[in-house]
């Protein structure tokens, strides 16, 4: 057994998959500007990806914001810096936790659903049927989901940001004895355009990753129920890891702002 051969094989396989995903993404994106554009499908997917993710994302954002306030208070109070709690919660939520938590929750919810749906369509030959009906399956299935995810994730995260900050407000005023209007004042004064916008840019990228991983894995699933199960797992795992990796890159990129 040659260890270099084994390492090389894994590396080449990795490059091959990366290339395939890139080609897949490029084709899907190229259909964004080539008519016909399936507006109705985009709208439907926005409902499924964005609107129906609101409860779960809202709840996680609320609790995350509340916990963040409690923990930061713990640290800040050691230096008598309790008054920084509102602004640190604000930055933490808008720059980091809002997009990442929403991204991971939506990855679990939506990437899995997309992979399972498209994977089932693949193994039941529905994707082949689309082709025989003169409909490009990538244009019909993938592009609308990509557009919907990229558009609805920033909206979802904007809402999650507000709820997260509110979670911090509730925890601070109920458990930590903050004055409500002072807390709000501090928050509003600390609010900057760049904090929010950098989070929303992240959200759009995460949306792209989620839809792409769901679609790619679903599209390439084979072999019946087990194949669809594998595709679903792979979609969620790949989307989550890529979100965290992209988050690191984007944070570096947007840090100067």
């Amino acid at each position: 057994m040659n260890i270099f051969a084994a390492v090389g094989r894994v590396f080449l396989a990795f490059l091959a998959v990366t290339g395939r995903v890139a080609l897949f993404a490029a084709e899907a994106v190229s259909h964004c500007v080539r008519p016909p554009i399936y507006w109705l499908l985009i709208l439907k997917q926005m409902l499924r990806i964005g609107y129906f993710s609101l409860p779960v994302v809202g709840l996680t954002a609320f609790f995350t914001g509340a916990v963040l306030a409690l923990q930061i208070y713990k640290g800040a109070s050691r230096y008598g810096a309790e008054s920084f709690v509102p602004v640190v919660v604000l930055i933490g939520i808008t720059r980091e936790l809002g997009p990442v938590i929403a991204g991971l929750m939506v990855a679990g919810r939506v990437a899995a659903a997309i992979a399972a749906e498209i994977g089932t369509m693949r193994v039941t030959e529905q994707i082949d049927a689309l082709t025989t009906l003169s409909t490009n399956p990538i244009k019909y299935l993938v592009t609308p989901r990509l557009i919907a995810a990229v558009v609805s994730m920033p909206i979802l995260v904007a809402i999650a940001d507000s709820i997260g900050v509110y979670g911090g407000y509730v925890a601070s005023t109920r458990s930590l004895g903050f004055n409500g209007s002072v807390y709000m004042n501090n928050t509003m004064n600390g609010l900057t355009y760049d904090d929010v916008s950098s989070g929303l840019i992240k959200a759009a990228v995460f949306g792209f990753i989620i839809a792409l991983m769901g679609c790619y894995n679903g599209f390439n699933s084979k072999g019946g129920a087990q194949g669809v199960g594998n595709a679903t797992t792979n979609a969620v795992v790949a989307a989550s890891i890529l979100i965290l990796a992209a988050n690191f890159l984007l944070t570096n990129l947007l840090f100067s702002r």
Binding site: E125, Q126, D128, A129, T131, T132, L133, S134, T135, Y140
Partner: protein, 262 residues
Amino acid sequence: MSAMAAGGTPKVELRGVKKRFGPKIVLDGVDLSINAGDSLVVIGGSGSGKSVTIKCVLGIIRPDAGSIKVDGEEVTRLRGAKRDAYLRKFGMLFQGGALFDSLPVWENVAFGLIQGRGLSRAKAREIALEKLGKVGLGPEVANLSPAELSGGMQKRVGLARAIAADPEIIFFDEPTTGLDPIMADVINDLIASTVRDLGVTALSITHDIASARKISNRIAMIFKGKIIWDGATKNIDHSGNPYVDQFIHGSAQGPIQMEVRR
């Protein structure tokens, strides 16, 4: 052979089509020609390359070598809009129906009309109801979801979808698989009458020999990725080919040995 005798260009012509998946050779030089108006059935065992042959013609699978001509035009390299236009000549009935479960029955039938040809929904629905009538389904099923239908009804809806856009060539992939014998015969009758009434060219693949006799005027047998016999349906019992004889009698003894690991 018969194609040349007829004098015209065959409707569909395959020459030396090869396809392998990894080390497994699925098609090993398939030669097949179908004349306009013919109903050809390709018979063969599981894994003999029947489905792959059809998918190559449709361009769902790209053959490694060989030529596929439809109406005399080479189609293996078609892409984009040209391919979409080419695919409009075809209708296909999939083995499991392959109905879109997110859409009601009538939208399944009308799909190619709305998406492929840009018809208005109202007009497409009208045509869909008419085609559903042709396969013996009333308007009451139009708004049902495919999941609410029995296997036989799903096949009928699949057939209605295949003929919805008035194709020139229809493919039937195992049309009777998974149906009880009576429903299978109903579907066979439906296919035979559809092909006759519409004057289309039909290519079916099946391992159901009763179905093959009923819906075809020509039969070809595929074995290990090659066409080993091709002739008129009425001659199938006197093919003189031991492979064909074994297959139509469904015998475990003969030249075809199943690769069963014990």
